[in-house]
């Protein structure tokens, strides 16, 4: 299991390839890459702030939870911080498992929990101004789908 919080970019292809070499019983690697969205409703740039220490701790706890819920043979989470511009990669989630159902589910679970539990905050730069992005109810709703009934 790999968790990295870093300023520099990452290579999704290399990360996916690394997940596949964990053992010959791996049958599926699922991955998600989040990008800074530009376009008409997009931003000129954003700066991601985080809480060093707590960030790594919370992401590691999410990965542990994913391993309890699904039979995973590997998991990698990379999240960047600092100033990013449209098209830049922000986050990578990759999981390896014997079968695709567990890989897809664990990957979606991890990105849903990352968005609502990992202590990152986005400061968006627009036309001469900047503003802190507000949390979205939609993200909370997506994360709540993974709540257990027990």
């Amino acid at each position: 299991m790999t968790v990295r919080v870093q300023r520099e970019d990452f290579d999704p292809g290399a990360e996916i390839a690394a997940l596949g070499v964990g053992g010959t019983e791996i049958g599926a690697v699922a991955s998600f890459v989040g990008l800074v969205r530009g376009g008409t409703d997009g931003v000129a740039a954003m700066t991601l702030e985080h809480y060093p220490g707590m960030t790594e701790r919370q992401i590691a706890a999410m990965v542990d939870e994913a391993c309890r819920r699904w039979p995973l043979d590997g998991a990698t989470v990379i999240h960047r911080f600092g100033r990013l511009t449209p098209g830049d990669r922000i986050v990578f989630v990759g999981v390896a498992s014997r079968h695709r159902a567990a890989a897809f589910a664990a990957c979606e679970f991890l990105i849903d929990w990352l968005k609502t539990r990992a202590p990152f905050w986005k400061l968006e730069e627009g036309a001469g101004t900047s503003r802190w992005v507000e949390a979205k109810d939609e993200d909370d709703a997506r994360a709540k789908r993974w709540q257990k009934e027990d």
Partner: protein, 83 residues
């Protein structure tokens, strides 16, 4: 006690970190917030809407009733927006 602020709480308070000696009688996160509010107009502005403030004690999420002990690291921040 080390108290950290992130995102717009840090902007409003003006610093990202304070090393504070708490007065007697502050035993929970909620009591700490009530005391912090009195420290400056910036603190008061940062904590004016309690529903928008999240707390962590020793890098785990904590509610208002969470007890505080000497040496704890307490952090306050808005709902997170990463990913």
């Amino acid at each position: 006690m080390k108290v950290l602020y992130f995102a717009w709480l840090r902007s409003r308070i003006g610093v990202g970190e304070e090393d504070l000696c708490l007065p007697a009688g502050i035993a929970t996160v909620g009591e700490l917030i009530n005391w912090l509010k009195t420290r400056s107009p910036g603190h008061a502005a940062a904590f004016s809407d309690a529903g928008l403030v999240r707390a962590a004690v020793n890098q785990d999420y904590a509610g208002l009733d969470h007890p505080l002990r000497p040496g704890d690291e307490v952090a306050f921040f808005p709902p997170v927006t990463g990913g």
